[in-house]
Symmetry: C2
Subunit: 102 residues, 2 copies
Amino acid sequence: MWSESEKKVARRAFDGALKKEYAALMNRLKDLAEKAGTPEDIWAIHDFLTEQRKMIDRKYDYRYSQLVMVFGGLLGEGRITDKELEGLKEEKLDLIRKIASL
Amino acid sequence: MWSESEKKVARRAFDGALKKEYAALMNRLKDLAEKAGTPEDIWAIHDFLTEQRKMIDRKYDYRYSQLVMVFGGLLGEGRITDKELEGLKEEKLDLIRKIASL
């Protein structure tokens, strides 16, 4: 169960992580496009975007049933910080930290 | 039937058109990537590349059974010129021109 105040924390943390994910992807795309010189480079960018799209769709799953797993993953890879999760119940935080450390 | 000398003409015209196709695509990709500012822009680039890849695969079909059709299409859209087809038998050229004018 997620309280209203927890939902606010979760939404902010989630959106912040997704924003960072997109910023990193944007930088990478611009860099790859700038350096591209051959047809193979074009299709490598296409393949890269196909993968990234699948990855983002899979990773950013905002269902409350999935959110502890999602945050565990994001915390583990440094896309969110402990601080951004402040306001969640201790029980959830414990589980998120455990998943993050896997 | 394609004679050896016709095959040489065909190969050069085909490769030249494909090279121009890729050069145009490269410019467009670099421009789109440079101007991209939102996640939607990233996925629009991905969709664009998906379409272009299908289009190029479909359009550049170097089977001798397809080549008159292929050249007809390329001549019609200005990717190849009459001059580049010089050396093909008059019968083929007639057909290519007819397809180009469709």
